[in-house]
């Protein structure tokens, strides 16, 4: 599904990704871990198409399409979803309106008519139940005045509504208490099918107790320095990153 080969990217002033290789197939969950500043969020931003970052070299393919040719919205239409580490507040637009717009823009791109209002509301209700969200929340302004946990839940709610093929969860666990974490993780697990895939970016092993990855990768200094199964996360929890950093230096 997703094929990243020797991807180098950064900003005008700094090189951040220095040759990332990663392959994600349908049905898989990948965890990307690593210390602060290792390039985890940059990798997710580059996959989603944030123009703030420049891709210097390497390839980025999704279902055999070159993603680098596509705008962020076109990538979203192809089925890529990024759950933001810091979701943006948009005063003046309600959650329901925002979701309606993103669904309909996606449908427009696929040549479909807008979703009928009743169908949309029913779908929203179902997904809100899944994430144990209160109803009044739909009419609130997008992320405005939301707590950290509410913002993250709102991200997963949008993911549930947009039904992407590839979801990238960037630090979705930060700001969540343990109950919220369980609800969110449960939501992610329920949305999992054999046709979609998830990349979980996290600092902490804790989330991976609930969303169990098939693969764990350690990103350090812009490169994946170690890949393994879910037991690698446990090892990192115990030993930290230093032993890997040292190994990477050699």
């Amino acid at each position: 599904m997703l094929k990243i080969k020797d991807l180098k990217a950064g900003t005008e002033n700094a090189k951040i990704l220095e040759g990332v290789n990663l392959e994600v197939n349908a049905g898989e969950i990948h965890a990307i871990m690593g210390p602060n500043g290792s390039g985890k969020s940059t990798l997710s931003a580059v996959i989603a198409g944030n123009e703030y970052f420049e891709v210097e070299s390497g390839t980025l393919e999704f279902d055999d399409i070159n993603l680098l040719d596509l705008d962020p919205e076109e990538r979203a239409h192809k089925g890529i979803f990024l759950s933001f580490q810091y979701p943006v507040e948009i005063p003046g637009i309600s959650v329901s309106n925002f979701i309606k717009t993103s669904i309909n823009e996606g449908r427009k791109a696929r040549g479909l008519d807008p979703i009928p209002a009743t169908e949309l509301l029913k779908m929203m209700q179902g997904k809100m139940d899944l994430l144990r969200m209160k109803k009044g929340y739909l009419s609130r302004n997008m992320n405005e005045g939301f707590s950290g946990g509410e913002k993250k839940r709102n991200e997963i709610f949008q993911m549930a509504m947009l039904e992407p093929k590839l979801s990238i969860l960037d630090e979705t666990d930060s700001g969540l208490d343990i109950d919220a974490l369980r609800v969110v993780a449960n939501g992610v697990n329920k949305l999992r099918t054999k046709d979609n895939a998830t990349i979980v970016i996290t600092h902490y092993q804790r989330l991976l107790d609930y969303i169990v990855p098939d693969f764990v990768h350690v990103l350090y200094d812009g490169r994946i320095i170690r890949s393994g199964g879910k037991e690698l996360a446990k090892e990192l929890e115990k030993k930290g990153y230093d032993w890997l950093k040292k190994a990477a230096c050699k």
């Binding site: 979803f81 005063p91 791109a109």
Partner: protein, 406 residues
Amino acid sequence: MSLIEKIKSYSKGASVSSDKKAELNSFLKEGFPTIKDEEWKYSSLKKIISENYSINAIGRNITEAEISNHSLGFNDKIVFVDGVLILNPTIKNVTISNYSEFKSREKDSISKLNYSLAKSGYTIAISDNSIVEDPIEILFFNTIERGFTQYRNIVKIGKNSEAKFIEKIQNINCDVSFVNHFTKIYCAKNSKIEYNKIQNNTSKSRLIDSMDVFQKQDSVCSINTLVFGGEFIRNNLNFEQNGTNAESNMNGVSVLNNSQLADNHTFVDHRSANCRSNEMYKGVYLDNAKGVFNGKIMVRKDSQKIDAFQANNNLLLSENAIINSKPQLEIYADDVKCSHGCTIGQLDENAIFYMRSRGVGSKEANAILTYAFASEAINNITIDAVALLAKNLLAKKLNVDLDVSL
């Protein structure tokens, strides 16, 4: 022939009454304001008044279809054509009459000109103790090519009464027009009025719109000004509070493109204690558009416990767009609360990427954020059809097909 020349020769005509002649001469002595005048520093009339207009031509009748084409669809419609009342509907508790007592003694040259050239003036009065449930639509049509037309009206809201209005100025053809629109609103004790001004005229229309509001005790007056269409628009919105516990609300949304100019001058004169004013003006400027905002708040010496708020926020969506914003607070009382804020900025790149990553195209994302920016002022409009119109006009200006209602 320039407009001034035209007015000069008209003033010598035999049909002009001596009263109006005197006023015209007074105007001619002063002339139109120029950019040397502080209040007109950023809005030059020079080019506009150098052109030729007809000042006393007779327009044509308009058809019912033309009326309904431009109407927002409200049942109660008052229709003026070229400044003259042509449709005077029967509305309970509302009387519309021709007035003669509305004489001159205007303070500025534009108003003097309005008085002396106006063919007629009308009073729309709401009787005391009555609540007019349905909004009243006031349509002003222009049919005269290159007409320099005067509208001159009074709106009176009786004691303990309530009414809502929507006013729209519309050219029937696409030719140049220049309208000098003058309205006085009298709010009696404990009255409540919402007056919506829709300024979305054709691309060669020019407008000077002066509105003086006089408020008595416990009255609430809200004026919403939506500026979308027209080449040159100057609004002078003045409030005078004469009575305690009066409230003046102003909301403005200007969305301009091409080389449009909109100048919103507002003035609140707090002449009594314990009164409030709230002002929220939002401006969005594209292409080579130019905006001016001047918000003056005067708190007189004995007007204690005034609570005045003013905000002017502007979005510049092009390198060449310009906004000149000037808050002007003159406070002579010592126990008041006055706050004001003025911002000029661009859209948030992070927010745009956030929306694009959810599948919303960049043009649409820009439009949604711009709508969100303006919505703070739009949401203060209580008539749904007007708020919806504002949203639709905004989407049209930004060239997107977007449904922002749910």
